[in-house]
Symmetry: C2
Subunit: 887 residues, 2 copies
């Protein structure tokens, strides 16, 4: 027969799959001989059987009964005994922590008889009756879905009758009356009496915990956190211990070191004569943990010794819940403690210093997400005023500016502004682009404002519900504070805080360090980051390059640790004053005109390339030939149409606008993303690619002549068929060959059209390298134009749970990832020496970086600020593995 | 040692892979004991070895030498003998016919000595010297790439000296001088003497034929015709026979039955005292073949008997080339004859009647392309005047209209017009849409005009070079004929002919038959089509449904043989007067307004569905929920902007336009194809899909109540993730369940987003059927927006050979086809009973239909006129196989 129930002593911390996190850690403490109240765990396998069939598996309750009997013998008290009852806590606990999502029922075993026994034993009738009424309420909610209001109404009635305001002022007799009222409410709502039989209470509680796994909010949480739906939860059943049996009792929480900085010491809080829920409810003030030394020195020293044992054993910061019942210390829970991003790095560094872990382990203990957080600017902790209010921290960073309520005004503003809206819509896009930060009073992490701001990398606080925007939209109020348009405010997208006035913004020390303006020496955080990223560099097999289009970008990327440029876009080289040359190229009516326009662009391009090759001397620079449609360099169709129509209506001469309008109309595309761009330009606009290739070859030749080491590569965008690449490659090779002194230049292709991935074996025969453009691969593979749908479809899909994360932020491994794997596997099978990079935004996303490492990619290329994150995650891929499960 | 050379007697007609088509058929005739001049074939394997290494395989020439010696013994003449020389023809011939693409060299063996022998033997010195100068010229061109002009210049000189105009007026002595001049020109261009040694001539000729396989025009032809590059060509070497040795000699071509109608009889041409090239050159008039009976009754009767043998043996119409040398008949070539589409069907029908082939074989003998041709309207053959001129037949059909030179004028014209342009550009699109037909004076089958017209299914004649458009663009001239704007012309896109005046257009009898307005009884073509399509129905496993959106469409599709509707688009149901309701829906500012707009649409939709279910009673009707973005139902952004700007400039009130402009601007998308459409509408516009589903369910309930048998299905467009489908399906199911009397309705999904194909296994768990939308799959898979790039990228890519055919016309099996196979294989593995259709345009393309049959698709759905083609090709897939090689 399947075994479903494990005494604590039968498990250990590595059995999280079977016993859940909480159960496994309780078992580990029991095995270490630490004072854990006796109990047992119902394994996740029982829950899974329940989920599959809708029934508890046969024999489960018999097995529970056996363990319960052993427990009763060990504590020498029967469950629900009317004189000295054993009481039980029943707690859910899955493999992964799901805070607030699952269920707990305390004091199972209380009934009309045993409540008297508890009162006698504790000498505290008020406590006993209060525990009983809490059980009825908790049991009613958890097992029978009885709404809290049903009980609240009774509480109100009893308080009125007693003439008191606070629950705590009720006497034991009041509470005894409340129990009568609660039982009546229970019967009315549940259609049955509150069960008096302790075993029935226990069985129903266990089933309720099983069922809670499928509650909608738990399911939604799992989808967001990518926790598989079929894991199920374990159930921990433990003898209750009481911290509220007098001054020699109490309860507390502790960390084995400072969770904010990682410093060793005694960190925690203690509350005498109290239960755990009192600490949470905050009805009385806790004292710092070291005060326990004066209250109960024996328990204190025992606790310190246990903390030392746990930290050495877990080799990490642990957090702990404990209770002292009449001078006897009990450990109720432990786990590896949560920590701030900064603490994660400093603790990992310190544990290495202390010899508890090695550097591999330290790298595994921090994440790219944490490092990302550390790279945003912040408000200076030292000088923070109290926030005016707060909302949902939707997109990180610290932003300061004058208040603007209108998007058009924000778009036209000079100086920094913060855009404040009830909620945003596509109409607000221009204002959002112009603003330093965005504040809304409605909506959460998947609202339009949140999703679009994250996409733009712009600071955003959403759903600050206390912010009431005036009807004339010239001010907002929070309580009795009114803030007017033009006033300065500061918002913190990492915490959700909103401050009055312009707070000083502090550049991230981590960024300043990578940028070379801060020495690592004095800051323990920066030292730890440096050390772990450096170790990640040593153990990683995945290379990291930068997406950089200008010499400044390139130089900074090099400081941030890029091993070259994986994507140098050439489109910015056609902007600004050069637009005029592009217009000439487009409006050219014959070959000489066209050639003249290209000839004028050539020296400008050459200079661009020369400077970038200088900044990246000795490292590869992958230059992507022009990708966007040419009409993107012209004014918009709508704008031109309006200008010409207005001139015509007024009888004025629209002049050159009319020619431009004709050209723009001829070149207009309904779907430019799927139109005349990339390699298609190269094959349809004579001389364009040749000019770019010549500029690059000449720039490289110049650098070589100067004694330097340029390593240019040519990348052809948007290839879908090997034949396109053959033609462009042949032309490019001929151009390079004709430039005296030019080096040999590798010619490769983007893989960004789904068909290119599907025919990678053919394309690899002609390409010297692949660079996977996962942005376009995602857009075309999903049929989603990111800019068009970010605030509509993507935002809604995140809310509906269709997306766990936007597929533009983190690679969709099932769909687009499959194309990636096909391209890598089949491309390399056809050409074993093929080098393969990734140059989409995903190249800087932690989970995606690990996926790419696992897929056999040679290097990722990402924007400068994400380079340290990519370096770290590439190292983590070596030590923690490459699936997204490697949290 | 590998055997490379096969005597004719060693081969047979099924060895086309090894011996090429020509060699295999010569061998077959030799085996049948027919009088074939002795010879042998160098196998394609030798050419392949040459292509792989650049050298003729070792031992090849020794093997050729052995066969040549046997040949000399059989004919009792040595090669190049100065008294009675054996002369040889050397002809290329691959597995597939490549007309005009490959090489022929005649009279190998002639040199300064043997030319005298030939003159003596034939008694015709002029002939001998003419043959010799032709050999030098042909050999020079083929083996040494000597341009024709080098020889033409010499010819001119000799003609001037002789004082004659025509080549034929040159005497033997003139030609003897010409040979001297040709040899000199040869030496100058080739850098060596014309080879006198016959064996050297033969070796060089064989190598030249091998090398000709890789000539650019041959490579391009193969790419267009999808002939693999690595097949190589065979080389046929045969003793020359001469039809120009007097009145008892001659040459001719024949068909074993009428290639236009299939009627039995004697069809062919004969030219006495002539060689084959004289027939081709047309210097003298041929006589009908039956006149040979009077000239040489013995040879005539022998020829008839041979034709009968061949037809019975090949069980098909054969065409034949023969020569009579001094009363002795020689067969030079035979092959299964080319024929018109009409003849293909009638011949196949007649061969069945004659018991030569069975119906399976008959179905294999015709193609969907031929049937497509037969369904276009034509000009009445009986009354055809001489054409004014002709061009490239670029897009079939017969179009009549008044001449218009300006696209804007064409777009605004009432009545039928033919748009005439030098060439077209995207500016001409509106005019092309409005015109009946398009005529251009420049460009070929891949020009903008040709590609766009084919995409629209519009008649087009391109590159009619004789058409000279006047500078004022108000007339064109052809020679001395001037045609003015407003005059009527007629163009035939199937032949390229251009006629003056409005010719009567004849609806295709095949279409009239399927449409039920013509009886099959009297027309042999229609009878044959009916019989073969009917047989295809019996043997096919692939179903055929229609894409139909209206009751009329549905009824006609049923007449054309559709087994239901595979795609009923609902977007047309939002057009016309209903646009106003869509505007109300979009402009609604609250829920009641939105619900009111939907409520007004409900009864209209219900009526649409009722009528379609009526027309398809008893057959499935797959209704696709709304797919296009809602803003497509509003006026264009450009148009509205201009209207509002004009009103503002003039100080007028733009009224409702301003509200609409605001809405259109908010909803504007840069790439609507990748925007808010399909399932995304269903998830973001509350009530929209529910209204459509309710209308369908109510319509079905009404029909059931009336005693009928509606079989509606609901299809969700643009699904990329299983979760989208789960949500929409749950909502739709709830709506259906709430309609009293509604039948159970299957709910499935389009697979048109690449990610849907890649995750088909997941999606299949929720979908009751798949319908592969290969249009969008192609657009997204290639990253190509068809409408935007048809006249630019696609046209250019066809010209460059990147596309063999537009991937929108015929499925790209390597790329998009791979997605199709993934979707089918993995969808069905997850849900074995899943039914899978295709509803892209490809569902009516012959090669694609066979591909789909091979991929395991259950049915294709196509537009009405393509249903018979799909039915036929589905049957052919059963008998000829499913690869595109099954020509």
């Amino acid at each position: 027969m399947t075994k479903y129930v494990y005494d604590f002593i039968e498990g250990d911390k590595d059995k999280k799959d079977l016993l859940g996190g909480k159960g496994a850690n309780l078992a580990e403490m029991a095995r270490l001989g630490l004072p854990v109240p006796p109990g047992f765990t119902i394994a996740t396998t029982a829950c899974r059987a329940y989920l599959a069939t809708g029934e508890t598996p046969p024999g489960l309750f018999a097995e529970i009964g056996d363990h319960l009997r052993e427990l009763e013998i060990r504590v020498d008290k029967p469950l629900g005994d009317p004189t000295d009852p054993l009481l039980l806590s029943v707690r859910s606990g899955g493999k992964f922590s799901m805070p607030g999502m699952m269920e707990t029922i305390l004091d199972i075993g209380l009934n009309d008889d045993s409540v008297e026994g508890l009162a006698r034993r504790t000498g505290d009738a008020r406590f006993a009756w209060d525990s009983y009424r809490r059980l009825i309420q908790m049991f009613g909610r958890t097992v029978f879905d009885i709404p809290a209001e049903r009980f609240d109404a009774q509480m109100q009635t009893v308080k009125s009758a007693a003439g008191v305001v606070a629950d705590t002022d009720l006497t034991a007799d009041d509470l005894r009356r409340l129990v009568v009222a609660y039982k009546k409410a229970f019967r009315a709502a549940a259609g049955r009496e509150f069960p008096q039989a302790p075993h029935e209470q226990l069985q129903l509680a266990v089933q309720a915990v099983f069922a809670s796994w499928q509650a909608p909010r738990a399911a939604l949480y799992r989808r967001r956190e990518q926790i598989p739906d079929d894991l199920g939860t374990a159930v921990n059943i433990m003898a209750m211990v009481f911290g509220n049996l007098g001054p020699d009792s109490g309860t507390g929480v502790a960390f084995t070191r400072d969770p904010a900085t990682g410093a060793r010491g005694v960190y925690g809080d203690y509350l005498a004569n109290a239960q755990g829920e009192d600490v949470v409810a905050g009805v009385r003030n806790t004292v710092p943990l070291d005060k326990l030394d004066a209250i109960d020195p024996v328990s204190y020293r025992q606790l310190l010794s246990i903390m030392d044992t746990l930290e050495k054993h877990y080799r990490d910061l642990c957090d702990i819940e404990f209770t002292i019942e009449r001078g006897k210390l009990w450990m109720l829970q432990t786990r590896v403690g949560k920590r701030t991003p900064a603490a994660a790095f400093t603790i990992a560094g310190q544990l290495v210093d202390e010899g508890l872990i090695d550097l591999d382990e330290a790298v595994a203990r921090v994440t790219g997400e944490q490092l990302t957080q550390l790279m945003f600017p912040t408000f200076d902790d030292g000088a923070l005023p109290a926030p005016l209010t707060s909302g949902v921290p939707a997109s990180p960073g610290a932003a300061v500016g004058r208040l603007v309520f209108d998007s058009a005004e924000a778009a036209a503003a000079t100086g920094d502004v913060i855009l404040v809206r009830r909620e945003t819509s596509p109409d607000d896009l221009a204002g959002m682009i112009a603003a330093q930060g965005i504040l809304t009073s409605r909506g959460g992490k998947t609202s339009h404002a949140a999703v679009v701001a994250r996409g733009m990398g712009k600071t955003c606080v959403c759903g600050a519900a206390d912010v009431v925007i005036a009807s004339d939209a010239q001010s907002f109020t929070v309580g009795d504070v009114t803030v007017h348009a033009g006033d300065s405010i500061s918002i913190d997208g990492s915490t959700g805080a909103v401050y009055l006035g312009a707070l000083p913004v502090r550049q991230s020390p981590v960024v300043r360090y990578f940028d070379g303006v801060l020495d690592a020496g004095n800051d323990p955080l920066v030292r730890a980051v440096d050390r772990l990223v450096d170790h990640a560099d040593r153990i990683r097999t995945l290379g990291v390059r930068a997406n950089a289009d200008t010499p400044d970008d390139a130089a900074r990327a090099r400081r941030f640790g890029a091993a070259g440029i994986g994507l140098c876009r050439t489109e910015h080289m056609f902007l600004g004053s050069r637009r005029e040359l592009v217009e000439r190229l487009i409006l050219a009516t014959d070959e000489p005109e066209r050639d003249a326009a290209l000839a004028a662009l050539l020296p400008l391009q050459r200079e661009d390339f020369t400077e970038i090759l200088e900044a990246m001397d000795g490292l590869p620079v992958t230059v992507r030939l022009l990708d966007p449609p040419l009409h993107e360099f012209l004014p918009s169709l709508e704008g031109l149409s309006v200008r010409v129509a207005r001139a015509d209506a007024l009888g004025l001469d629209p002049g050159r606008d009319r020619d431009l309008l004709r050209a723009v109309r001829r070149m207009h595309e309904e779907n430019p993303m799927l139109g005349m761009r990339g390699v298609r330009l190269g094959l349809l606009v004579p001389g364009l690619f040749a000019m770019q290739v010549r500029a690059l070859a000449e720039a490289a030749a110049q650098r070589i002549a100067g004694g330097f080491d340029p390593q240019p590569e040519i990348m052809v965008p948007l290839v879908g068929s090997v034949r396109e690449l053959e033609l462009v490659r042949a032309e490019a090779q001929a151009v390079v060959d004709a430039v005296p002194g030019a080096p040999s230049i590798r010619i490769g292709t983007m893989i960004e059209v789904p068909r290119a991935a599907l025919t990678a074996a053919e394309i690899a025969t002609v390409a010297e390298f692949f660079s996977l453009g996962t942005n376009d691969l995602t857009q075309m593979g999903w049929g989603l134009s990111r800019d068009d749908v970010e605030g509509t479809v993507i935002s809604r899909y995140l809310a509906l749970g269709i997306f766990d994360r936007s597929p533009f932020e983190s690679i969709d491994t099932a769909g687009i990832g499959r194309l990636v794997r096909i391209a890598v596997d089949e491309g390399r099978a056809a050409r074993p020496e093929l080098s393969i990079g990734v140059c989409g935004e995903h190249g800087g996303d932690p989970a995606s970086v690990r996926f790419f490492a696992g897929a056999g990619i040679d290097y990722v290329s990402c924007s400068t600020y994400r380079i340290p994150v990519a370096r770290l995650e590439a190292g983590r891929a070596t030590v923690v593995g490459t699936t997204s499960d490697s949290r």
